[in-house]
């Protein structure tokens, strides 16, 4: 009975964390969009007249920093909540009652929420809690999360294209808006998975996967 109670406690913890991570990421998404919008507004004219703006590195940096910040918030909250579960009477019973293996053997199933399976596969299994670093946990780059190349279509401009002129300015302004809209749509797609299959990899799933991976490592270490 003790092992089932402990598994239920971990399951409730899992549900709480997954839901809170989703809320957190949804709440933080406007900040990411604002940063991406700022990037589009600051993009040089040269980037707005080519078919594929060379902004990948800048986008990577913004997305990676935002993702890492959100991951750290999620991990911090999850650790505190898990600590409460691990220190409970239920876990004491498991520890002292020779039921450690029952709980540990259940963990792959506890962590294996099908919908984030692709993201779990992208986050390395951790041997021990101590080995966790932000770099081993997640690497967010435009390529690693299938952030598409930012294509906004080439525009044929005359020789004065880069020199200015009202008509050209209007064109550049429209292309800037198109770039901003494109970045916003890509943020929705790659952060929340909007427009993708429910089980496709996305940043939200990766943060959830990383939290579950760390929880598994913490519980394994606690049970040794």
């Amino acid at each position: 009975m003790g092992a089932i109670e402990a598994e239920l406690a971990v399951l409730d913890w899992r549900e709480k964390e997954l839901s809170e991570i989703t809320s957190q990421v949804v709440d933080a998404l406007p900040r990411l969009k604002q940063d991406l919008n700022d990037l589009a507004m600051a993009a040089g004219k040269a980037n707005l007249v080519v078919k594929t703006p060379k902004l990948g590195r800048d986008v990577d940096k913004i997305v990676a920093e935002w993702s890492q910040a959100e991951l750290q918030v999620a991990l911090g909250r999850a650790r505190v909540d898990l600590e409460v579960v691990i220190k409970s009477d239920t876990f004491d019973v498991v520890r002292s009652g020779g039921m450690k293996e029952d709980l540990l053997s259940a963990f792959p199933a506890l962590a294996g929420v099908g919908m984030i399976g692709a993201s779990l596969a992208a986050v390395p299994a951790l041997v021990a809690y101590a080995t966790i670093t932000t770099t081993t946990l997640l690497v967010f780059t435009t390529s690693s999360i299938s952030w598409p190349i930012l294509g906004i279509g080439a525009v044929v401009l005359g020789g004065t294209a880069l020199a200015g002129g009202k008509s050209i300015d209007r064109t550049i302004s429209k292309r800037r808006e198109a770039l901003a809209a494109s970045l916003e749509a890509l943020a929705d797609e790659n952060v929340l998975g909007i427009g993708k299959a429910p089980n496709a990899d996305c940043i939200l799933s990766r943060i959830q996967a990383a939290v579950l991976r760390e929880a598994e490592a913490i519980i394994r270490e606690e049970m040794v």
Partner: protein
């Protein structure tokens, strides 16, 4: 007599935090030791009627008028109002009450009579047909034919269990019915898993989530009926083993489905982040209720296993235990001490 009135000091102890309730189990908070079990009785029905003002008279009957997720919301309302009715019922406050409409409050051995179980079964069948008719494209993944077959089998087995008292060879009939009900529960678990997997590949729908709730209700119904059959023939030892296995099996099922994942699967079908937020808020209560129903069932059935184990160890007869529950007309909750005094 196996059961007794709830000691006032126990009620006070739960209120003060000295004791805590998990499923039907009351534990001493300081050392984690089991003090005893709560057991709902036939009088619970009367209290529920009074607490809710529902004229149907039995929680099972309520399911016929309420949709699956709606029933869960109703469960919460009933639970909240129960605490106002009688001091002993304050013990159920905070308890995860799973599938109230199927199995009473799920505190101890089920008090639901089989005529009402059959009625509930019919309600679930109607509801599943209604849900499926709303789903435009019924894919192979849904395997509705299989579900209809399983429901038909369960109905037959419930009828057998219902007629146990008048059968010559009760033991064989009860064991066979229980075995078949367990098999049906296993097939329903397969349906449940396939539905969840389909929602991971394609976006979840409200109807799909309600269907999951109904399938989980039927699994619980199979368990309650099977357990009661074993109590009827005094095989409480087997009832304990059966409950342990069922709790384990339901736990695996609960692990495989995440309320957040279902919610996200539904929410991401919108075209923008704003749609995502609105759709998430819309479906979250239903997904959370499903999770709560599953884990609540695991807790309740785990406690039932412990209760049956204790009855077996004390040499109690399951049939007499059931008789006590059925005949009690005053106290909605009784107490089974952990140790004989």
């Amino acid at each position: 007599m196996y059961l007794r009135a709830l000691p006032p000091e126990l009620i006070d102890g739960v209120g003060s935090g000295a004791f805590k309730v998990a499923g039907s189990i009351i534990k001493n908070t300081s050392n984690g030791q089991i003090v005893g079990h709560l057991q709902e009785t036939g009088a619970m029905d009367i209290v529920l009627k009074g607490a809710t003002g529902v004229a149907t008279g039995n929680p099972l009957a309520m399911a016929d008028t309420a949709a699956g997720v709606g029933t869960l919301v109703q469960n919460e309302q009933i639970k909240a109002r129960l605490t106002e009715v009688q001091s002993s019922l304050s013990l159920v406050q905070g308890m995860q009450v799973a599938n109230l409409a199927v199995a009473g409050l799920g505190i101890g051995v089920s008090i639901a009579g089989f005529a009402l179980m059959l009625k509930k079964m019919k309600g679930i069948e109607t509801q599943i047909r209604d849900i499926d008719s709303k789903i435009e494209a019924v894919t192979d993944e849904r395997r509705n034919d299989e579900l209809q077959t399983v429901m038909s089998d369960i109905r037959n087995d419930l009828t057998i269990v219902d007629t146990l008292p008048s059968r010559k060879n009760k033991a064989t009939a009860a064991e066979t019915a229980q075995r078949e009900l367990a098999r049906s529960a296993g097939r329903l678990e397969g349906v449940f898993r396939r539905d969840v997997e389909a929602m991971e590949r394609n976006h979840a729908t409200r109807e799909g989530i309600e269907r999951l709730w109904n399938v989980s209700s039927m699994i619980r119904l199979c368990h309650e009926a099977g357990q009661r059959a074993l109590f009827t023939i005094d095989d409480v030892k087997l009832a304990a083993e059966y409950s342990e296995r069922q709790a384990e099996s339901l736990l695996r099922l609960a692990e495989g489905v995440s309320a957040d994942a279902l919610t996200r699967s539904y929410a991401a079908a919108g075209g923008s982040a704003d749609d995502f937020v609105a759709r998430r808020a819309d479906i979250l209560p239903a997904s959370a209720a499903l999770h709560k129903a599953l884990t609540g069932s695991v807790t309740a059935i785990t406690a039932q296993a412990d209760l049956a184990r204790r009855l077996d160890e004390s040499g109690a007869k399951g049939s007499l235990y059931l008789k006590e529950l059925d005949e009690e007309t005053r106290e909605p909750l009784l107490f089974l001490p952990a140790t004989a005094e």
